[in-house]
């Protein structure tokens, strides 16, 4: 139980930042689920960043740091409550006309029941079956905090070149979140990585439920969340304690915020600032975060910068402000601490050119992508395909705002992943076998979100049938 206390301050900090930055007046109507599910991950990003800066400046995490963090949480919490009290509720510019539609008990009850059963499953599997996670967890993500914690004041030794086989260049959001909690507790415990993994799993489910509920209607939100609960591969992977589920959560959060921005017509720059923060968290979680950063820059920011209108420049500045602290610290970590990356730095330009001009590898990668997409999580896409066929897309929906931008972002990410396989210095088949399913998993929550955002909700379909 005491282990839970170590994540409270990061939860308060994250939720408070979301409430403070969220557009004026829009916090109240959406309840607590949205800010908490966003704040859960953001808080871990911010506190791991603060802990890293403190460790670099002061030498190690100590009581002073935790006093500072607690004060920060307190001040942020008070400011958030003050902002919440002082604003009036503003109705969100939603896509649906279904605000007075009844919640279907079968959907609500199924969601609550399955969520509770999933929680029970998660606890049993995490604590009894895989308390240390799976391979990558004890080879990378849980090994790093363990080495740092056991070195104590000499935590820098954890980045010595002799341990280079353990991907020392991987960013530190997850390892530092665990390390910070262990230092706060004063001892190592497998409960902390389990709690962290659980927070990301359930935050992702609640985030998708809430945002789809806000933008479409509650029943559609339940269906989206139930789809996440139907994704066995996603649930199972959360207990592996890898960084892929947290990374998937950060991608989804950034996309959600970009979509929400289109529906908050006034003062929406706060949402872009938050999207910048979440993109920064993704950078600080996995190397694939660079791809998200580039894709975001390309798709959302460049058109804004190229246009001379003042508003567009302000949007770019808001995004840059959010991502800037994470970008700086990740770059600092890469330059000062991390050894070379095995994919990027071991390739010469000549090697890369050789790989790029090898057409047969494109075919091999293409086939692998197709196979993995079709078989993803026991063929869940077939169920979604059938659902789409029965329900149909919402034609009255503004695709310029709600489909094209996030879908393009996902496709660009997928293309980036494809290109990484093209230039890989490793054995291609081995690289594909060991990572492709996890890369698709990273994009899955965003895919579910976009799918349910753009499909007819049950009441709309019933109405069309009656007509």
């Amino acid at each position: 139980m005491i282990s839970f206390l170590t994540v409270i301050s990061s939860l308060i900090i994250g939720t408070a930042i979301v409430l403070i930055i969220f557009p004026q007046g829009c916090q109240k109507g959406n309840g607590w689920i949205l800010p908490i599910s966003l704040g859960c991950g953001l808080g871990q990003g911010v506190t791991s960043l603060m802990a890293f800066i403190w460790m670099v400046i002061a030498g190690q995490l100590n009581h002073n740091y935790f006093i500072l963090e607690s004060c920060f949480a307190l001040i942020a919490g008070i400011l958030a409550l003050y902002r919440l009290r002082s604003t009036t509720d503003i109705k969100l510019n939603t896509i649906n006309d279904a605000s007075n539609i009844d919640v279907q008990p079968v959907l609500r009850n199924s969601f609550v029941l399955l969520l509770l059963l999933t929680l029970l499953w998660f606890v049993l599997r995490s604590l009894y079956q895989y308390p240390h996670g799976k391979w990558d967890a004890w080879a990378i993500w849980n090994l790093r905090p363990r080495v740092m914690f056991r070195f104590g004041a000499q935590w820098l030794n954890a980045f010595s070149e002799s341990g280079g086989w353990s991907h020392l260049d991987y960013p530190l959001l997850l390892p530092l979140t665990i390390y910070r909690s262990w230092v706060m507790l004063g001892y190592e415990t497998v409960v902390i990585p389990c709690i962290v993994a659980g927070l990301y799993l359930f935050s992702t489910i609640f985030l998708i439920y809430k945002v789809v509920s806000i933008l479409r209607n509650t029943n559609q939100g339940y269906l989206a969340a139930l789809t996440m609960l139907a994704t066995i591969w996603f649930l199972k992977h959360s207990t592996s304690q890898f960084a892929d589920v947290p990374f998937a959560y950060f991608i989804c959060s950034a996309i959600v915020l970009f979509v929400l921005k289109e529906h908050y017509t006034q003062n929406s720059r706060g949402l872009i600032l938050l999207a910048g923060l979440f993109t920064g968290c993704a950078l600080w979680t996995k190397n694939e975060g660079w791809l998200l950063f580039i894709v975001t820059m390309l798709y959302f920011i460049l058109p804004f910068i190229m246009m001379t209108k003042r508003d567009h420049l302000k949007v770019a500045i808001a995004f840059g402000t959010g991502v800037f602290p994470f970008l700086c610290i990740t770059l600092f970590f890469k330059i000062k601490f991390a050894p070379q990356n095995d994919v990027i730095n071991t390739n010469t330009l000549y090697d890369m050119w050789q790989s790029i001009s090898n057409i047969s590898s494109y075919l091999e990668i293409g086939k692998a992508f197709l196979k993995e997409i079709v078989t993803f999580s026991y063929g869940i896409l077939f169920f979604l395909g059938a659902y789409f066929w029965l329900s149909k897309a919402d034609n009255g929906f503004n695709s310029e705002l709600n489909i094209k931008p996030p879908l393009m972002m996902l496709l660009l990410m997928l293309s980036g992943y494809f290109f990484v396989y093209v230039i890989t210095p490793h054995d291609l088949q081995w690289h594909i076998d060991s990572s492709l399913n996890r890369l698709l998993l990273q994009l899955w929550p965003s895919t579910v979100f976009i799918f349910f955002l753009n499909i007819l909700y049950p009441e709309q379909k019933g109405k069309i049938e009656n007509e």
């Binding site: 009894y128 391979w135 139907a230 169920f383």
Partner: protein, 132 residues
């Protein structure tokens, strides 16, 4: 209530969701209550607990095994952290940890230039350079 076609489409989501969660829960309950297999990291923690006391002061030790499985190397590294395990024995390490899994009862053939200084049982041995 929804019309039949609408309800039908909803069951395309509901049924897989119920099936997934029930299958997962049944699997983990069976594992926890009937098989109770010990987690591999926990097994390694137990096997190397005695050896750990002997290498506490070291910053790095060598590693040798009779299996080519890289997974075993990572498991030993995780268990012995923060001591760095060195697979490459060309750079002579004073101490080498032996992880023998194929046959943990037969006498081990020590590495050339090394002598066994402690056999902790269950395939875990500690070797040291002969001139030490």
């Amino acid at each position: 209530m929804y019309s039949k076609p609408v309800a039908k489409s909803m069951y395309l989501i509901l049924i897989p969701a119920y099936l997934s969660v029930i299958i997962l829960l049944a699997g983990v309950l069976r594992e926890v209550f009937f098989y109770s297999r010990t987690n591999e990291v926990v097994v390694y923690e137990k096997r190397f607990s005695k050896l750990k006391q002997f290498v506490l002061e070291e910053s790095a030790v060598g590693y040798t095994t009779d299996t080519g499985n890289i997974k075993d190397f990572y498991l030993v590294q995780y268990v012995l952290a923060p001591i760095i395990l060195n697979k490459n024995l060309k750079s002579k390490q004073n101490l080498v940890v032996g992880n023998y899994l194929k046959n943990d009862t037969a006498p081990f053939t020590p590495l050339i230039g090394y002598t066994i200084i402690n056999d902790f049982g269950s395939g875990v041995i500690l070797l040291s350079l002969k001139n030490q």
